[in-house]
């Protein structure tokens, strides 16, 4: 039972354009959502998070949007840069931080120079 789904295994975007990565979840108990970025041979790196009491959170080039009624979140990267090429994982937990994270299967983002 895949509680967190990333339906696009890969995405290619031109440098300078906007990258939009999507994530859907099924468990209504999830209250906190995170995006992690993973380069080969490295562990996932925390990127940005959002609590269910918000519908948007921004950090520099990265913005996460949450639509609770649709159980959908998205990560926007603008402008996209070559260093953004990585695998992006969406994760969810019942509480912020120390509760176990449930991850999606990831989306490989490739930025084309």
């Amino acid at each position: 039972d895949q509680q967190v789904k990333q339906n696009s295994p890969s995405l290619s975007v031109q440098e300078g354009r906007i990258s939009i990565l999507n994530c859907d979840y099924t468990n209504s108990m999830f209250d906190y959502f995170l995006w992690y970025k993973k380069y080969p041979a490295e562990g996932p790196t925390f990127l940005i998070s959002i609590s269910s009491i918000k519908d948007k959170n921004e950090d520099g080039r990265f913005t996460v949007f949450l639509n609770k009624s649709a159980k959908h979140l998205s990560l926007h990267i603008v402008p996209s840069q070559p260093g953004d090429s990585a695998v992006y994982f969406c994760a969810a937990s019942p509480l912020r931080g120390n509760e176990k994270l449930t991850f999606g299967t990831g989306t490989r983002l490739t930025i084309i120079p």
Binding site: V4, Q6, L34, Y36, A41, E42, G43, P44, T45, F46, S49, F89, A91, L95, R96, G97, N98, E99, K100, L101, T102, F103, G104, T105, G106
Partner: protein
């Protein structure tokens, strides 16, 4: 400031053997979680240790066990290895302070291959 470190980097074991993986948390962190990432999948939660006790456990058999030491470092033990245990094992650390919890930071992982 040292991040999360894991050892060894790679490991090859034979089916039926036992393995121990090690993790040192980020400086100042007191909670350690272990995840298994199979090829093409997202990380799956195995268990979490806090104050030297297993606090939460995911859907993994008892062959998977762990330990946390007084210095907050942790070990993951897997007994009776199966071919399906081949995966990247990730350790994540975080800080719990006065009821507030903070984001988990991941180590680079240990790649386990079972033949």
């Amino acid at each position: 400031d040292a991040g999360v470190t894991q050892s060894p980097t790679h490991l090859i074991k034979t089916r039926g053997q036992q393995v121990t993986l090690r993790c040192s948390p980020k400086s100042g962190h007191d909670t350690v979680s272990w995840y298994q990432q199979a090829l093409g999948q997202g990380p799956q939660f195995i268990f979490q240790y806090y104050e030297e006790e297993e606090r939460q456990r995911g859907n993994f058999p008892d062959r998977f066990s762990g330990h946390q030491f007084p210095n907050y470092s942790s070990e993951l033990n897997v007994n009776a290895l199966l071919l399906g245990d081949s995966a990247l094992y990730l350790c994540a650390s975080s800080l719990e302070l006065a009821g507030a919890s903070y984001e988990q930071y991941f180590g680079p992982g240990t790649r386990l291959t079972v033949t």
